[in-house]
């Protein structure tokens, strides 16, 4: 799978799980201390996100990193 496809998949998983938990992007941003201007592109798969950032998001959603892959 190409990088971009992989990043899009990860982003979709974040977006899906966030919505399942009835969270807005803003609320997720508050939980993991991130800006929505960075979260939205991540959910869209436009950013080559780091492991550290993914871990922050995972903790905010109470999931494991492998749940995003």
């Amino acid at each position: 799978m190409k990088d971009k496809e992989y990043l899009i998949l990860i982003g979709k998983n974040i977006s899906r799980i966030r919505k399942e938990q009835k969270l807005t992007v803003k609320e997720l941003g508050f939980r993991c201390d991130m800006e929505k201007t960075n979260l939205i592109p991540i959910e869209k798969g436009r950013i080559n996100v780091t492991i550290g950032t993914l871990l922050k998001i995972c903790r905010a959603l109470d999931i494991e990193l492998k749940d995003l892959l």
Copy 2:
């Protein structure tokens, strides 16, 4: 698990799998078009590596991203 611990774990897995395949850092670098000055800190877990970089390494080692977590 803390970010740093997670990054160290990923790095150890890269290093272990590379050695299992009898590859030097230089050879791995050649395969994934990366510098050893960047690969070594990644194997040490000192760098907050991106998904894109991990995917390059995974392709060079013929493994899946989840194999590193």
